[in-house]
């Protein structure tokens, strides 16, 4: 039963074959049994989850059920959730119970979904392996020696290990797509501004975007229907007419022009990943699509640009964690400056501190123009490259990551190597364009490979169509490690 799609769960609930309370209880049992090994969840609260399940059962009984009513969803611990511990993977917030709900949480609540627990993540979403979490690393369900990716590592693990039918993630430089790829699931980062950032603890405001993680493109479409929508509390939220992201799922792909950026098929991609990607592209050609080489000349700059802008914004966003009003405060301190110093030194982990330092440096007097302003200019050039490329093609494809999942501890001592995990993904955050990852087979050590699909602004429905048609023709997304 744990392999069912969202549609199947919904049907079972509607036909009263199972109640939400029973379904929720089954998943809670599974989490209880398996989470000690995976560490995918930071907080599980049976009481709160079951209360939501009972309310969902009433909605179903009253005939008010929507497509997600009664279905458990795992929430990344970056979304403020009323009455729940909301840690963002940090000691700094290890005592923070949110008094309010994030916009995304509100939307799931209104839809009658059940919050099955808060998932583990890299501290403040800064990391590509989930190893920077104060709550410890998460295991890759395909290979317990491997990382699940990050920062939404707990979410990817939870979906892959069938601890939850679906999950939410957030993506600042690849934090949905990279763990989705490494854990063999599907995940989409929508166009910037479609999903409310209100209550989503900020890492880099101009790059952060929430999105769903699930077993299939079809599930993602249903989740996206719930998650997106204008939120007046977020000034960067876009006012657009609601759309059904599942509307184009069945369209045939004949005539689809797939752009393959030569910069993404150059050195850096490992052989096993390349093989899996090439096979996937063959499949697309069989489905009637044509592939065209395109160029994104500034794409190689995405990582350096990202590692100027993201830390700059982060250094300011994380200033509120000062020990004054909530969160960790040092037990003993001298004066005010000492209180700040000790609280922040104790509350933040090494990677967060590193990024605060980088960000503070690039914004400093005398360096601002050379780093921050320059990076903003390059950001525009990178976006122009994509806009140019979309004149020749409908969609862009490449690998989500240069390699399959690496081992726990393998890169945690080498930040640059770690940062390069996002070499293909961070451009979509810089441009604000939607991008997703779907599983397309296995590489070395039988670890999953993800195909990266990048679309033009607001082309989510088309991207999901492209992903769904592949998933109808192949079975990689149905493979389960458990």
């Amino acid at each position: 039963m744990f392999n069912a799609s969202l549609k199947q769960f919904s049907l079972q609930l509607a036909e009263k074959k199972i109640s939400s309370t029973e379904l929720t209880t089954e998943f809670l049992k599974r989490i209880k049994a398996l989470n000690p090994e995976y560490n995918a969840f930071i907080t599980v609260n049976e009481e709160l989850s079951l209360a939501q399940a009972r309310a969902a059962d009433q909605m179903i009984a009253a005939g008010q059920a929507g497509p997600l009513t009664g279905i458990p969803i795992a929430q990344k611990d970056i979304f403020c959730t009323k009455g729940w511990l909301t840690t963002c993977g940090s000691k700094m917030l290890s005592n923070f119970v949110s008094p309010y709900d994030a916009g995304v949480i509100e939307r799931f609540n209104q839809a009658g979904a059940v919050n099955i627990g808060k998932t583990n993540m890299d501290e403040f979403a800064m990391g590509s392996s989930n190893e920077t979490s104060f709550y410890g690393p998460v295991k890759n369900p395909w290979d317990h020696a491997a990382v699940p990716g990050g920062s939404s590592g707990g979410a990817a693990c939870a979906v892959a290990a069938r601890l939850s039918p679906a999950a939410t993630g957030t993506d600042t430089g690849g934090s949905i797509r990279q763990p989705a790829a490494l854990c063999g699931i599907s995940g989409i980062k929508p166009t910037y501004g479609l999903v409310s950032r209100y209550g989503m603890i900020a890492f880099a405001s101009s790059l952060d975007q929430g999105g769903p993680m699930a077993k299939s493109a079809e599930d993602l479409a249903l989740l996206l229907n719930i998650m997106t929508g204008f939120d007046p509390r977020d000034s960067t939220s876009l006012q657009r007419n609601a759309e059904d992201y599942a509307r184009d799922l069945q369209k045939p792909l004949a005539g689809l022009r797939i752009g393959l950026p030569k910069e993404y098929f150059a050195e850096g991609m490992s052989k096993d990943v390349e093989n899996a990607i090439e096979k996937a592209l063959d499949e697309y050609r069989k489905l009637g699509a044509q592939t065209i080489e395109v160029s994104l000349p500034n794409a190689p700059l995405a990582i350096p640009v990202y590692y100027v802008l993201a830390p700059a914004e982060a250094s300011s966003n994380l200033s509120r964690f000062d020990g004054v009003r909530y969160g960790h405060r040092a037990k003993s301190y001298g004066d005010l400056a000492d209180m700040y110093r000790k609280s922040r030194a104790e509350g933040f982990g090494a990677e967060v501190k590193r990024r605060i330092l980088i960000g503070t440096y690039v914004l400093s007097h005398g360096y601002y123009d050379a780093y921050y302003i320059k990076a903003q200019k390059l950001r525009r050039l990178i976006a122009q490259d994509f806009t140019e490329a979309y004149k020749q093609c409908d969609i862009i494809m490449g690998p989500t990551t240069p390699t399959v999942a690496f081992n726990l501890g393998e890169k945690s001592g080498d930040p640059i190597q770690m940062y390069l995990s996002d070499i293909y993904t961070s451009a979509a955050n810089l441009t604000g364009m939607p991008a997703m990852s779907i599983p397309v087979g296995f590489g070395d050590k039988n670890r999953p490979v993800g195909l990266h699909i990048i679309g033009n602004y607001f082309s989510e429905a088309q991207m999901l169509n492209v992903a769904h048609q592949y998933q109808l023709a192949t079975g990689w997304h149905l493979q389960s490690p458990v």
Partner: protein
């Protein structure tokens, strides 16, 4: 050596919006600590700012009033520093592209007009308050004020004396109240001045090193702080020393300024555009719409008073020192057309004097413009003398006889004797009884004339129309 003082002012005007600049919390003054602090004002994890359009509208009003450029787009920036009453660890302010750029303010000092250029006016949020008393070795934080909208209005260093600085501050203070963007309450901190002061040898161009004096919350303190600071700097320079650039505080009790922080320990604020707020686009249609709502501005009204009513520049500027006073003048004049000087004199004299004495605002004046006009009409038609009018005014102020002018004149017997034959009779009587003085006058002693007038006025307890008495007496003596 002759020294020249150079002053630029930064004024923080609290904008009169109901809610804060980036949250829906109330901006009302004086509530219990932290009762007006929402999750946004507390900077909980995940919260975001949403700009209050009312604050922008008020900034645009000021911009239009001083002939400034309204920037579109305008950018909000983060000013990063740590302080317990700054919940986010940064203040949302503006750095490049403020809403208002440039503009001019005209001041008058000792009858001379001077133009003060504005550099800019930008929107920002206020911080909260740290409370260091009553907490036994700890500090309390009140975030009610955090997020209150401020407009920081920055002038060029165009002022050359404390008198000019005060004149500028007063004109600006009157202006923000006039256009309804700030209540101007200086005690509650709604209008605060920082003064940048430097000195240089007279006739030289290069600006001296400046010191910034923070948080001057009265015009008197502004004046005294500048005077003290200029003296301090001149003394240092004359002793061969150098001025250190720093931020200073004015201590009103000791009447001196002292160091708050030096340039060396100044923060690097690491300004950058706030990614949570999109660039603010201000369409021309919005500006035009706001322009429609602006009242006639003080300068325009001043000019109109001079050109249309032949008032002196001084009278016109006093009458336009507040919108309430100018409106009062207009309303009075409407009832009594063509008597602008009479109305002006009484409003600037009796009305203002009495309001000042009792500490009452113009809006709470017990005598309405219509009532004042009724009184002045009786002076104008000769019913009462100017002197008697003051007695009537007092009675009206005290609410006697329903403030009915005619009833008071009647009850107090203040009606002037303006009947020619009655006056002639009086004059004849006095002339008959004072043959000696008549003779003196005819022998060239002008003084005797005044003495005769005095006799006549005395006989009528001052009620005789002085002009008529004068004319009649002259006719009798000379004719």
């Amino acid at each position: 050596m002759q020294w020249e003082i150079v002053i630029g002012l930064e004024v923080h005007a609290q904008l009169s919006t109901q809610s804060k600049i980036f949250s829906g919390s109330s901006t009302a003054y004086g509530a219990a600590p932290n009762t007006q602090a929402s999750v946004i004002d507390l900077a909980l994890p995940g919260v975001l700012p949403v700009l209050n359009k009312g604050a922008v509208e008020r900034a645009i009003k000021l911009g239009l009033s001083v002939g400034a450029k309204i920037n579109s787009p305008s950018i909000f920036a983060r000013k990063n520093y740590f302080y317990p009453d700054l919940p986010k660890g940064y203040q949302i302010s503006q750095y490049e592209l403020p809403v208002v750029q440039g503009g001019n303010i005209h001041i008058q000092v000792d009858g001379t007009e001077k133009n003060i250029r504005l550099t800019r006016a930008h929107l920002e949020e206020d911080a909260g308050k740290s409370l260091h008393e009553d907490f036994h070795g700890m500090s309390g934080i009140d975030l009610n004020r955090a997020g209150t909208p401020l407009l920081e209005i920055v002038s060029e260093p165009d002022m050359r004396s404390s008198a000019e600085a005060v004149a500028y501050a007063k004109i600006l203070h009157a202006l923000v109240r006039w256009i309804g963007i700030c209540d101007g309450n200086m005690q509650e901190g709604s209008f605060r001045c920082d003064a940048n002061v430097s000195v240089r040898p007279h006739g030289t161009e290069k600006l001296g090193t400046r010191c910034e004096i923070k948080n001057l919350n009265s015009f008197r303190f502004l004046e005294k702080a500048i005077d003290y600071e200029a003296r301090r700097q001149i003394e240092i320079l004359e002793d061969g020393g150098a001025i250190r650039q720093e931020t200073r505080l004015y201590d009103a009790n000791k009447d001196e300024t002292r160091t708050m922080r030096t340039k060396e320990d100044a923060n690097d604020y690491r300004y950058f555009p706030d990614p949570d707020l999109l660039p603010l686009e201000i369409p021309q249609s919005w500006i035009d719409q706001i322009k429609q709502t602006l009242p006639e501005l003080p300068q325009a009204r001043r000019d109109r008073y001079v050109s249309a009513f032949a008032l002196s520049a001084y009278d016109a500027s006093v009458l336009t020192s507040s919108r309430e006073m100018a409106d009062y003048f207009d309303a009075t004049l409407k009832q009594l057309p063509a008597q602008a000087k009479l109305c002006a004199n009484w409003i600037m004299g009796e009305i203002s004097g009495q309001l000042n004495k009792e500490g009452i605002e113009m809006t709470a004046c017990p005598i309405t413009p219509a009532q004042l006009a009724a009184l002045l009409a009786r002076i104008n038609d000769g019913t009462i003398s100017g002197k008697a009018a003051k007695t009537v005014f007092e009675s009206m102020w005290n609410g006697e006889l329903g403030k009915n002018v005619d009833a008071i004149i009647e009850a107090k017997g203040l009606k002037q004797i303006s009947d020619d034959s009655a006056i002639e009779k009086l004059v004849d009587q006095v002339l008959a009884a004072n043959a000696q003085q008549v003779a003196d006058y005819r022998n060239g002693k002008e003084k005797a004339f005044n003495s005769l007038i005095g006799q006549i006025m005395k006989a009528t307890q001052g009620k005789a129309n002085p002009a008529q008495v004068n004319a009649m007496l002259k006719k009798k003596l000379d004719g």
